[in-house]
Amino acid sequence: MGVILEVKNLTKKFSGLTAVNDFSFEVRRGEFTGLIGPNGAGKTTLFNLISGHEKPSSGTIRFDGRDITGMKPHQIVNLGIARTFQLVRSFRFMTLLDNIAVSCLSPRGKKVAKEYGIDEYASSILAAVGLVDKARIPPIILPHGDLRKLQIGKALGTNPQLLLLDEPFSGLSHEEQKGITDLIIKLHDDGVTVFMTGHVLRELMHLVPRVVAMHQGKYITEGPPQEVANNKIVLEAYLGKGSEQLA
């Protein structure tokens, strides 16, 4: 299987602070990969660079062999990379159905959605993420767990090949985490390449076969979660936060 995402020497400097520092890694098509690192490691910034929400200071990002560095977010989405946000975002005054419909109306989403009709397609996505019975209500009154599902639904509306999930478990109860886990596994089984972050290694431990570790903007190591968890630098990075966070 070919490389779907290739990040090379990626650097992002904010005034005085290098959030992502000469970072390189690859994700292969169909893979299920985690990105770990303690708070402030630069995971979200890395996602923002890939999704085009931030412009890199230097380095390149290639998707499916194509240079996407510096492209606009909507262009990147329409090539097949969708993302969710660590802090949940939603269209507050619109129904859940319309929240999903927006993605289905993107050029890439539309190609699939128009075969079925936008509303039908959007409701099928709501069904897939388990929110179809709430199709007619706005997200302001949803519990946090449902908002996380909605994030994934919104990403799915664009019919992604690569799904970037930023802390999809953050702020969730055990029960809710289970639901999201099942959903992500199902999506991966359906052929979506998944790349997700988590600052608590335990959450990713049993889910992904491979993790990339990041610390202070730098690439540390990668490999099966058990191995990475025993890496000296990774251990040190996390130790300040309390080693109980580890598996």
Binding site: F93, Y116, E120, V132, K154
Partner: protein, 343 residues
């Protein structure tokens, strides 16, 4: 991705069922009754003064709805709506006065020029957000005001074309839509009804879904694969179109335009009216405009005071009725309706 397609039966699939669903709602019935009521006004009175007030009210309804569309549905708060009103007003007036174009053709061309101004305003507006957008659009209307007021431009234009365009006088002595105020009334009524229908339809369409998404979360909309730039410009052009329609009608109704139409005051009127009716309602503008225009007539002799009074009314609305009058009124009527029907 394979997702099991689950059909939900309640979605209307064609226009007929869309219309049937719409007319079955309470709101639709009230709309139809209001429209019928308005179309009966000329049966009650042919007094040009009264019909004129109604005509003015309908023009302001279109104008305020064009602002409400942009602010309430796309989240772009403009303080420069008067630019569209003025530009189209000037073009319409000029074409009628000096080129003897028929009124409807002048109105169409004036509105198209307003659309182009929507594009011109829309592009810099993309970089401005929130209060900066409001200030930027406000500045634009002030620039237009100053340009059209310029004496030197006025003489230059007059020497070059032999007509009056710039200068304090503006373009005056325009023939109205018809010398018969009833005809003028119905023409305006028709244009207003169609304008509100189109605006409402846009907000309910797929494009409207994208507009609302931009209003609620612009970054999130781009993450959903939508080119927000394209849709924001489109929204400015649509808003410009309908403000332009209002501008052309305005020029004909008042037999001319002068640089005063570019004043922030007119943008402010649109905001007051839309706020009184209720933001993000489109048709709420009709209620707002009705109050505004009739109150304006009552306060006619106290011109200087009227802006003060309207400002106070606006503050009261913001404080006590932030959702405007349309929704609460509809709810009251619905209650009455239910009582009358014995439910």
């Amino acid at each position: 991705m394979r997702i099991i397609i689950k059909k939900i039966a309640e979605f209307p699939s064609n226009f007929q069922s869309y219309f049937r669903d719409w007319i079955s709602t309470f709101r639709a019935k009230v709309t139809v009754i209001c429209l019928i009521g308005l179309s009966l006004v000329p049966l009650l009175t042919q007094n040009p003064y009264f019909l004129g007030i109604f005509t003015t009210f309908m023009i302001f309804t279109i104008f305020a709805a064009s602002w409400d569309f942009l602010a309430g549905f796309v989240g772009q708060v403009s303080f420069g709506q008067a630019v569209f009103l003025g530009v189209s007003g000037y073009v319409t007036a000029y074409l009628i006065r000096y080129l003897s174009f028929p009124w409807w053709l002048s109105l169409v061309i004036g509105s198209i020029i307003a659309v182009i101004f929507g594009l011109i305003i829309g592009i810099p507006a993309l970089r401005l957000k929130g209060p900066y957008l409001a200030l930027g659009t406000l500045a634009m209307s002030l620039i237009m005001y100053q340009v059209f007021l310029m004496g030197s431009l006025a003489t230059m234009w007059e020497n070059a074309f032999g007509t009056n365009l710039f200068g304090a006088e503006g373009v005056s002595q325009i023939t109205p839509i018809s010398s018969d105020t009833v005809v003028e009334y119905f023409a305006t009524f028709l244009i207003m009804s169609v304008s509100l229908l189109i605006l409402t339809h846009i907000t309910k369409s797929n494009v409207g879904t994208i507009f609302k998404a931009i209003r609620d979360d612009e970054t999130g909309t781009s993450a959903s694969g939508i080119n927000t730039t394209k849709y924001k410009i489109l929204a400015f052009m649509i808003s410009g179109l309908f403000a332009g329609v209002a501008g052309g009608l305005f020029a004909m109704r008042f037999r001319g335009v002068n640089p005063g139409v570019f004043q922030p005051l007119y943008s402010f009127y649109a905001i007051i009216i839309a706020a009184m009716g209720g933001l993000a309602t489109i048709s709420g503008s009709a209620i707002g405009a009705l109050i505004f225009v009739f109150l304006g007539e009552i306060l006619r002799d106290t011109q200087d005071l009227s802006l003060l009074i309207f400002s106070i009314i606006l503050i009261l609305f913001i404080r006590f009725a932030e959702h405007g009058l349309l929704k609460p009124t509809l709810e009251r009527i619905q209650e009455l309706w239910d009582i009358v029907l014995g439910r």
